[in-house]
Every structure is written in structure tokens, then in C-alpha cells.
Symmetry: C2
Subunit: 362 residues, 2 copies
């Protein structure tokens, strides 16, 4: 007996209550302009009929959807899940709602995804990282949609960013390792193509090593972010084979680091005695691993909340969105230590050899 009743609208409620549709509307949206007993009856009847306002009609009339969009690489990586979670929470506190879509780290379709959100009514947009696609940039400027890019802070950009300085964070980390006495370091980076955050970190790494006269013993292995849990291990095997003098591995996310540490365990390499390992992001798990992970703490929650607030202010009060540079911090834990004598010696030997052979990683 599943009859398909048409859902009731203002007209139905008005008829049932013996008032005009204006009064029905006002009973909900301007309660104090309606006589008490009338309002009470209208609301009573509306709820009995199972009335709820049609969102599309309301949005059309009010020119307001109360929805913000977020396009992110994936929710399967805790960092982004956390970002979206705080974004969404902050929005819903203001009666707004988040519509979210993922790119799967494939920015070729970023434009499409953005359009999809806009065509579904997003009034503002949270994106991740710098927008490289020129057509997308034009589109966003043209449409004048409030937008904030998160993750990387960048001055002098058309679009406001709420993020942190990836270069500085990596620099701090590398200097920390150098200070401990490491001289041959390998970075496991995500894909740098079209990814300003990874690019910045790779540059910071190379620059900092070069400044210390260690340009020759600064290696970079690029790995996709997807399947990070197996890619890290795979990278570790390459390090063992190609850069055995490495005494510290700088991973550009915590998941790579976890994977590297697991692989080390398998191979009998002790962390941090034989090899120091660092992560990036400071996911919750970083502090329960064995050894606990030295990493960069990144304000993911803060980014989400601030992005939400900025977009709300833009949409609600026409307020301009200002870029914000948030701080990161180096969290020194147990996965890093001074290189052991033996390893250091090996590193030195290696360094000389590769110097002779003129090996470079560029």
C-alpha cells in the first residue's frame, strides 16, 4: 500500500489552515508578524501534513543556497578528512552545509569538479593548493565566487589562501637533521607535477642541503600519494639499493613514514639507530607508533574552520577574504637521532665515491 503522496507545499498548508500562503510563509520565517493563535495553528497543521519548505524554491527566491563546496584530493587520507570535518562542522554551526567532491589526486579534472559543485549550488569554495589551471582561474574570477585555497600559504596570489609555508617547514626539518649530524638524506616526496606543496618541499630540501655543502648527498624519490602505505616501503627498498649511505629519510607525509618504518623493521634496520625517519602532518597515529614519529604538525583543523568562516563572511557580509599564514611546528620524537658512527662512516665513504662518479639526482 505504498501510495505516492505528493509532498505538501505552502498551498496545501494554507488551504488546510484557512489562511493565505503568505501567512504560512510568515508563520515560519517571521513568526512575530503573525497572530499567535494563527501561527500556532499553521505550524500545527504544517507538521501534521509533513510539510517542509522546498529547498529549491526557497533558494531561488532568496538567491541563497546556504551551501559551500569543498574539492579535495581524497577523504582516505586522514589529513584531508580532518580538514573537511572541521570545515563542515564550522559551516553547520552557521546553518550552512558542505558539499564535497574528491579529485583522487588527479587535478586534470579539477575544473569539472569545481563546475559540478557550482552547478549544484555551492556559494563558496574550499580548494586545496595553488590553482594552476588557467581556464579554471579565469572561470573563478569571471564567476566571482568566493574561494579560498588551503594548505599552502601564498602571498601575491589572485585567490586568498589559508595555509602554511611548506618551504619553511621542510627547511626547519632538514636543518634539525643536519644539526644532529646527518649528511646524506633522502626525501620521499609526493608527485611534484602540478603540486605546489610538494614542489616547495623539494626545493626547500635541495636548497638547505646545498647551503650546507651537501647538494650531492641530497636525494629525492618521487612517489604517488595513493597507496602511500605501500609506496613508502617501495621507496625504502630503493633507498637501500641506490642510496645506502642515507642516514635520514624525510617523508613528505606521515603515511610514507609509517610505511618506511615498517619496511625497516622487516629488513632489520633499526629506527632511529641505523636510520632516522621523519614524517609530515602529525596525524594522530604519529604519536602511538613505535618509535614515535618526528614530524611537522600542521594546523589542518584550523584551516578548515578558518576557511569556513572566511567563506561565510564573504557570502553573508560581503567581506573580503584575507590570506592567512598559519604556523607549523616541528615535533621532535623518537624516530630521529644522531647517525651512528658506522653509518656515518659508510655515508662518508659513499659520498666520496659518488663524488668521483659524479652522480647527481637532478
Amino acid at each position: 500500500m505504498r501510495e505516492h503522496r505528493k509532498k505538501p507545499n505552502v498551498v496545501d498548508v494554507a488551504k488546510a489552515a484557512g489562511v493565505s500562503i503568505a501567512t504560512v510563509s510568515r508563520s515560519f520565517n517571521a513568526p512575530d508578524t503573525v497572530r499567535d493563535n494563527v501561527r500556532t495553528r499553521v505550524i500545527e497543521i504544517a507538521s501534521r501534513l509533513g510539510y517542509s519548505p522546498n529547498p529549491a524554491a526557497k533558494a531561488l527566491r532568496l538567491q541563497k543556497t546556504n551551501m559551500m563546496g569543498a574539492v579535495i584530493p581524497t577523504l582516505d587520507y586522514a589529513f584531508f578528512a580532518r580538514l573537511v570535518n572541521s570545515f563542515q562542522e564550522a559551516l553547520s554551526r552557521a546553518g550552512h552545509i558542505a558539499i564535497v567532491i574528491t579529485t583522487g589526486f588527479d587535478n586534470r579534472h579539477l575544473f569539472e569538479k569545481v563546475q559540478l559543485l557550482v552547478e549544484h549550488g555551492a556559494e563558496g569554495l574550499l580548494l586545496v593548493g595553488r590553482i594552476e589551471d588557467v581556464k579554471l582561474r579565469d572561470y573563478l574570477v569571471e564567476k566571482q565566487i568566493p574561494i579560498v585555497t588551503t594548505y599552502s600559504y601564498q602571498a601575491d596570489e589572485v585567490f586568498p589562501s589559508i595555509g602554511f609555508d611548506n618551504y619553511a617547514a621542510t627547511q626547519q626539518l632538514v636543518r634539525y637533521l643536519l644539526g644532529m649530524g646527518h649528511s646524506e638524506i633522502t626525501m620521499i616526496a609526493g608527485r611534484t607535477a602540478g603540486n605546489d606543496r610538494q614542489e616547495a618541499r623539494v626545493h626547500a630540501f635541495r636548497d638547505t642541503m646545498a647551503a650546507a655543502g651537501l647538494g650531492k648527498t641530497a636525494h629525492v624519490i618521487e612517489k604517488p600519494y595513493v597507496q602511500a602505505l605501500s609506496e613508502g616501503a617501495e621507496a625504502m627498498r630503493r633507498i637501500d639499493a641506490e642510496y645506502p649511505g642515507t642516514t635520514a629519510v624525510v617523508c613528505n607525509n606521515d603515511v610514507f613514514a609509517v610505511s618506511v618504518i615498517a619496511e625497516c623493521r622487516k629488513r632489520g634496520i633499526c629506527v632511529p639507530e641505523d636510520l632516522s625517519v621523519t614524517g609530515f602532518d602529525d596525524l594522530d597515529l604519529a604519536s602511538v607508533l613505535d618509535p614515535q614519529l618526528t614530524t611537522i604538525a600542521v594546523p589542518s583543523r584550523d584551516m578548515g574552520v578558518r576557511a569556513a568562516e572566511a567563506l561565510l563572511n564573504a557570502v553573508l557580509h560581503r567581506r573580503e577574504i584575507l590570506s592567512v599564514r598559519l604556523e607549523t611546528s616541528l615535533v621532535a620524537r623518537a624516530s630521529t637521532a644522531a647517525p651512528s658512527k658506522a653509518r656515518a662512516a659508510m655515508a662518508k665513504r659513499r659520498k666520496n665515491e659518488s663524488g668521483k662518479r659524479g652522480i647527481s639526482d637532478r
Copy 2:
């Protein structure tokens, strides 16, 4: 010079192209009913003007928003993030989009959250777990919104569910431990109040232990899901103090398990030699921990995809949503082993004592 141009609509495009608004609309929505050169020009002009259809107007006219809602406890737990991720991916493949909202594990406001989604245009809903709130149940029935509850499979429910059998999964796990020789086991459960999944697992645990004549040495500690990473450790400290005869700890999620293992390390308790530990969910990290975690693999991705498909079929083709019972599997890894002799002896001693003292956990 940020003039605020009104965004162009069909009328603007029509004027600019010298056609009627009907032709503009048709150029996009029924291209082959418009003469080639006319259509080309219209589309050209539309894109030059930066036209894109107003989502609210379209939704109102078509009575279709192409949006599905998901209300979940949080995105900060990998299990739910994964669920939503696959849900959202499957939806967007069909040109639909997900709007998501979290409850923060507080189901008191579930009804509000559901309403928020509906009032923003959700045409179908993914929920987690059994719906206890009677008013919410009435509301959903009244509104006839396609809905699927995920996580727990339940026959004989008004609302279709796509999930698995929590009771059976836990039963399998406990039997596995019993088969190894464990006789005193403690379960760390999430809050059972208003949570059918936790309830089912606690029941399965008690029943299975009782059936083995071990009702007296089956302990349950209830902990909130939030901050699972510290709650697990806290629970472990209680186990050490209150149930020292415990030789196996059954954690109702992997994060509890990780936390327990970390606490054990701190206290010099060897896993699995001194203590077996199991998880639930089989998060990615379960296989890179040390020791690797014995856990229950749960089809979170599959749930998300199937929920999306079911809702799409319901909305697009009026197809009825059928409940689906998915399989879980026990993944036996290194965090479980037979109890050591010494521990077993201690467990036995403990058991006798508590038997004498008539201690029970009910």
C-alpha cells in the same frame, strides 16, 4: 575595480544571441533539437558571458536536486571517511553530489541533522546504524525519502540496511581466541547507549564466552569513541588493575587496539606473548603496525558504493531499496597468539579467586 556584475541568466544569453530563452535552454539540454549554427552561437555567447544555469531554478523546475545526503558520526575516524569517500565517488560518477554532515557521535541531534540535509535538498539519505529515534522514524516514513542505513545489517526493519552482522563477526573473533586457549578476555567497547553495533558486539562477546563456560571471565569496558587513541590506553590501564588475569583484549575498533598496544609497550607487556590484542575494521594501518593487527575486515568501501547505487536507483528509477548483508572476515595477524603458560596460570588463579568472591561484570 570590483564591480559586482549580476550573474547572467537565460534572458541575458537569449538577448545577446537574438533568440528566445527556450532556444537557449534547448541548446544545452536538447542540443539536437536546435539548428547547428544557432546552437553553436548560443553556446559560444553563453560561455563568453560566463553563463551557467541557476541550480535552484533548475531544481525547482525539474523537481530534482541531484544531491544525496550522508550523516555520519565523524570524518576523523578512517572507517567513516572511507565510507563517505566511496559513497561520494559513486554518486559523482552519476552526476550527483554528496552533502555531508556529522553528529560527533551524539545521536541526540540526529533528527536535526537529517532535517538540515533534507532542507538543503537531499533526495536520499545514507545513515549509520539503526535509527532509534521514533520521531525521526516517523518523519522519514512520512516524507518517503529513500534512505539506507549502513554498517549494521538488520532484517525485519522498516528501513533497508546495507551492512554486516556485528554479532557474527565478534562471535567469530571470540571463538578464534578461545580456540587458541584464552579463557579470560576483556572487551573494550564503544558506548552502547543508542548504538546497536556496539550492543550486538557486547552481546556476542558475552554469549560466546558464556557458551564456553567462561561467563565469569568475560569483562567489558565501555569507552567513548572520541579520542579513541587515548581511551584505549586508559582502558588498558584499567585492565591491568582490575582484570590482571586477562590474556586477550578484544577492541571494538582498530584505533583502540593501536592505543592498547602502545600502552602495553610502555608497560613492558609483550604483544602477543603476554597479551593478545584484536581490533575491528581493518584500517590500512592495521597491517603496518608492530605487531600487525589481528582484526575484522569490514567492507566499508563496498557499503558506500552500494548505498550510493541503491539511492540512485530509488530516486532515478523508483526502484525499491533492498537490504544487503555483506560479509566480514577475520584477518589473523601477529597480535594474537596462544596465552603463555605463566599468564594462563595466573588467569586460572584469578578466575578461582573471583569465583570465590563472586565478582561479576554485569
